[in-house]
Amino acid sequence: MSPSVRRVVAPLVGIIGFGLMWEAAVGVFDIRRFVLLPPSKIVSELAEAPGFYWSNMVITGQHMAIGLSISMAVAIVVGALMASSRFIEEATQPVLILILVTPWVAYITSVVLWLDGGTPTIVFMVAFTSFPVFTFGVVGGMKSADPAARELLASVDARPWEVFWRLRLPASLPSIFTTLRFALGLGLAAAYFSEGSALTRDGLGAIGRTASASNQAETLWATIASAAVLGVVGLIVISLLERSLLEWHASQRS
C-alpha cells in the first residue's frame, strides 16, 4: 500500500472499527440509550434533520472561533509584554495560573448574570478559559527566539515593536499552533457548556441541554457527534494554516 493511500485508508479503518465495536457493545451489554446511543441511531437522527444540526453547528463554530480569536489576540499582546519584561511576567503569571486552575463551570452562572446571557457570555467564556493556555504558549514561543538574533537586532538599535514583529512573533508561531490545538478542545467544551447555560436557544450546547431536560437521547447524542465533527474540522483548518505559515519549520518538513 502506498503511503498516500495508507494515510486515507488507515484512519477510516480505525473509525469504522471503533464504530462497529461501539454498536456491538451497546447491543451486547444492553446499555441505556442516554448513557450510550449506538452510532447507527445517531447517524439516522442527523440524517433526519441535517439542516437543523448544521445551522447549530455553524453557530457553535462561530462562538468558538470568535472566542478563540479574541483570546489569541489578547494573549499575543500580554505574552509580548511578559516576554519583554521579567517584572510583568512575574506579576502576570500567578493571575494566569489562577484563571487556569479555577473550574470555570463553577463561576459561569456569575458570568451569565454579569453579561445577561446570550452570545457575549458564550464568547467571553471561550476566550477566558483559553486565554491562560494561549498566553503561556505565546510567552514560551517568544522567549525561545534565538538570543544571537536578538543581539543582532540590538546591534542596530531595533525598536521593541521591530523585535516583536520581525523576531519574537514569527519565532512563537510553532508554539502558538501547538497551543491552538489544545485550546480548540478547551474552547469547544466552553462553547458547548456555555450555550447550555447562557439563556440562549441556539447552538449545539443549548439544544443538548434542552434534549437532556426532555429525555431526548437521540438529539443529545446528535449534538455531541456534531460537536466532535466541529472539533475535527477545526483541527483540519489549524493543520492547513500551520502547513502554509510554517513551511520553514522542522515540524513541517518530511
Binding site: A148, E151, L152, A154, S155, A158, R166, P170, W248, A250
Partner: protein, 282 residues
C-alpha cells in the same frame, strides 16, 4: 603598491588610494574605535582588567586569547550591547549606543543567527529593514550583488535549513556588509565551521574587506585566522583579561590564500603562538 586609507566622514566608505609598489596600510588618526581604561566585572567576578585599545580607520585588529579571557565581553561593550564597569569607549567619534542608533556597526555573531522563516535574500536584507531611518538610502552594493559575490547568487530564495554551515555564515557576512557600516565587529564568526570551510571563509572575508577599507575588530581563537586577516593582533591573558601584547602583522596586502604557504606566514603564526603562551602564563 601602497594603500592609503584617507580619513573620511562618518559612515562613508572610501576606496584606498594606490600610490606605489610596496603593499602597506597606513593608520591615520583619529581611531575608529577607542577604549580607554575599560574594565568589566560581573558581580564579584572580574572579567576584564582595565585595558586600552585603539583601532584606526581601515585597520583590522584581532583579539586573540584563551576561552573566557573577555574577548567577547570587550567586543560586546564596543558594540554597545554591554556596559563597561569603568572606562570610556568611543566608536566612530560617538558613544557605542549612538553608534548603534546610527547603524555604524555591522555585527557578526558567533552563530549565523539567520531567521529560519526568511529566505537567504530576506535574511541578508534584515538589518537594512530594521531601524530604516539609519539605513543607507543608496547602499554601495546591492544585497543581491553581495550574495553573488559570496557565491550565493543561486540561493536567493533558499531557506537557512537548506544551506550548509559555511553558506549560512556567508549570509551572515553579507547581512553585516549590506548596511554599509564603517565598522565591523566579528565575534568568532567561523568558530563552528570545519577547518576547510573555515579557511575558505577567512579568505572570503579578506577578499570582501580589503577593497572597502572597513575597520574590523575580530575575535578568534585561531592563530592562522588572526594572522591572515589582521593588521594588528591584541593578545589577551586569561581572566581577568588584559592585553598583554599588541603585535603588528606586517604581511603584504592584498592577501591571497597562497600567503598561508609562505615562510613569512609561518613565522608570524609562530610568533603569535609564543605571545599567546606568554600571555597564558601571566
Amino acid at each position: 603598491m601602497i594603500r592609503v586609507h584617507a580619513a573620511g566622514h562618518n559612515g562613508a566608505r572610501e576606496q584606498p588610494e594606490v600610490i606605489g609598489a610596496a603593499q602597506v596600510r597606513s593608520h591615520p588618526v583619529p581611531p575608529r574605535i577607542e577604549a580607554r581604561g575599560v574594565s568589566k566585572s560581573f558581580g564579584s567576578l572580574d572579567a576584564l582588567a582595565p585595558l586600552d585599545l585603539s583601532v584606526a580607520e581601515g585597520e583590522t585588529v584581532t583579539l586573540l586569547g584563551p576561552s573566557g579571557c573577555g574577548k567577547t565581553t570587550l567586543l560586546r561593550m564596543i558594540a554597545g550591547l554591554e556596559q563597561p564597569t569603568s572606562g570610556d569607549i568611543v566608536v566612530n567619534g560617538m558613544s557605542p549606543d549612538e553608534a548603534r542608533r546610527l547603524k555604524q556597526i555591522g555585527f557578526v555573531p558567533q552563530s549565523p543567527a539567520l531567521l529560519p522563516w526568511r529566505t537567504v535574500e530576506s535574511n541578508a536584507r534584515l538589518l537594512l529593514d530594521i531601524n530604516r531611518r539609519a539605513s543607507p538610502t543608496t547602499p554601495s552594493a546591492s544585497v543581491d550583488d553581495l550574495l553573488d559575490e559570496v557565491g550565493l547568487g543561486d540561493f536567493l530564495d533558499a531557506y537557512p535549513h537548506e544551506l550548509s554551515g559555511g553558506m549560512q555564515q556567508r549570509v551572515g557576512l553579507v547581512r553585516a556588509f549590506a548596511i554599509d557600516a564603517p565598522i565591523l565587529l566579528m565575534d568568532e564568526p567561523f568558530a563552528a565551521l570545519d577547518e576547510m570551510t573555515r579557511t575558505d571563509m577567512r579568505h572570503l572575508l579578506g577578499r570582501l574587506c580589503e577593497p572597502l577599507g572597513t575597520t574590523v575588530l575580530f575575535v578568534t581563537h585561531s592563530i592562522p585566522e588572526a594572522t591572515f586577516l589582521s593588521d594588528r593582533v591584541a593578545v589577551m591573558s586569561p581572566r581577568p583579561g588584559s592585553i598583554t601584547e599588541d603585535i603588528t602583522i606586517d604581511l603584504p596586502r592584498p592577501r591571497r590564500p597562497e600567503l598561508e604557504d609562505t615562510q613569512q606566514f609561518f613565522h608570524t603564526t609562530t610568533r603569535l603562538r609564543a605571545a599567546l603562551s606568554t600571555g597564558m602564563r601571566r
